[in-house]
Symmetry: C2
Amino acid sequence: MLERFNVPPKDEVRVPEQSLRSTVTAIFEKMGVPRQAAVEGADVLVMTDLRGVETHGVSNMLRSYVQGYKDKRLNPRPEWHIVREAPGTATIDADGGLGIILGGPAMRLAIEKARKVGVGIVTMYNSGHMGAVGHFAMMAAKEDMVGICMTALSNRVVPTFAAEPRLGTNPIAVAAPAKSEPPFLFDAATSTIAENKLGLAARVGANLLPGWVSDNQGGPVTEEIAVPKRGDYYLLPLGSTREQGSHKGYGLAMMVEVLSTFLAGTLPDALNPAGRARSHFAAYDIAAFTDVDTFKENLDSMLKTLRTTPPAEGHERVLYPGLPEYEAEQDRRANGIPLHKEVIQWFDDITAELSLPRLKTM
Amino acid sequence: MLERFNVPPKDEVRVPEQSLRSTVTAIFEKMGVPRQAAVEGADVLVMTDLRGVETHGVSNMLRSYVQGYKDKRLNPRPEWHIVREAPGTATIDADGGLGIILGGPAMRLAIEKARKVGVGIVTMYNSGHMGAVGHFAMMAAKEDMVGICMTALSNRVVPTFAAEPRLGTNPIAVAAPAKSEPPFLFDAATSTIAENKLGLAARVGANLLPGWVSDNQGGPVTEEIAVPKRGDYYLLPLGSTREQGSHKGYGLAMMVEVLSTFLAGTLPDALNPAGRARSHFAAYDIAAFTDVDTFKENLDSMLKTLRTTPPAEGHERVLYPGLPEYEAEQDRRANGIPLHKEVIQWFDDITAELSLPRLKTM
């Protein structure tokens, strides 16, 4: 994540992993979520914060999930079920359950299918928000598989040349296991920046860089600006302008809709603004394609080559997708998860409201 | 494609589709390629030109394929074979055959598997160049499936912050069938621009825009320049700079390596500069996920919504991936394929050399 999104040290409070897990689980349970599902949802959020993906951890998302349960937009006890199935595929109706809780079962189904026929593809519709989809891709990587997860939600991104939004920020995540290097883990919106980055930027007082958003007529904003009010901007596809390749970000966002929304038999938010996510889970059993050891050794060589590549002038080192997340996880497991003091205040308020013990900080 | 890449009308010669097919087939046969394979290779190249993807049609690619056969880098009669297989997956050793010729059999195998278990994934290694991979994705779309094709080759793209290249331009293509709208067809390099665009720009005398390439130390070139000499630049990942999201283009390029190169049990060019492509073919049987009619009707509504979205100021209309390709195909089937006069000269030279009839122009 760019420096500008970090919580400034003066506003930072560190929270132990275990304490965050307990409090988040308890909050989910108070929303009516059964114990095991609450534990799974808390795991997804806390792992996301451990990996340094603040945009999709407790800070931005938990309050919105709590609001969703309170407003009955989220179903705490969904009867999710498979509506169509083949040996390598399935489509799941999530029955309004929270995506971060149902992503686990969906990816486990994909993994199970991959074990039988080499690959498993599961689409899921009618869920709440999916959080950081990299978490689900990682589930497959831990089983010696390549994992992919994509999700489509909302209508905030303007297609190239368009004056109005038609697509979500539609992230793509891919994970693959290496031997001794930290795993490959890519997880990124197909827009120039994720919507949640704007919330984070507002909280830490950071400006938006040129090319990150459009004005409310679809024109790319080409100077640095403060975070605008929600109605005053749209997001741009990765590439920002046609000349720099925004048609590619636009096409990738549509790819996510095709593999998630349309393959599940549903419509994008532009045509059906129901606020329900559509997602795609893929597990590729490495052993069905090649020797697992060969795969891991080869990926190891590449990841090591990438991180030891000489840096360009003005840069300290070359990273690979998954390396900063791994480093953040080591630090945060040992030293706690840094939360903004405003987020701690929110925890204090919600735990008081729900008659739960306060979140323990370090 | 941006205006600047079009062949200037004064340099353009139109060639009928059928005449181009015959000549290209005959050239492949003179290289030792069996008749059926030659017809299939010509079909891929000519369809690519019909779709307006000049970068990957006869102009740039055929001469390089001919040189490959002459230098024995390409095997005209490959004994390609499946080295590992599961009900939903396979890995193919292409035995040095040209990728544009073997992409067809690889995608047909993926389609056959998808018909049985809902999804088919095939990786192929040890092939020559794959051409415009959108062609193979379209093969699945014609069978009421979603098709994906990706390919990894060469070492020309600098990772974010790096001073040296480590990745190929690694394109991703996705195709999906609609009902009455032209099909969705996305096909784009994960670098800011495809390497072949540089050849095309040089031929038509166009400059490169800021953010398209790096200097030979990995620093993004931020002004408009003429096409540099091959050793003087590298390509940048989609996003161009870290601030604009180059880590996403970099991650997507690595995704292509993971799903193609590593899953096939092989190494990227950065570690094994053998000049052999690794590719990934995926076919998703729509009927295994949802009703085919629902899928097509839903995609139709979205594609129509996209192309009728009000354009932003200064733009004429909104396109969707596949629409300009469809329009080019209608025009070119009727009025011939526009080739640069320099390309016609190359055809005259090669047909004379191989004792073949001259390419018929309009």
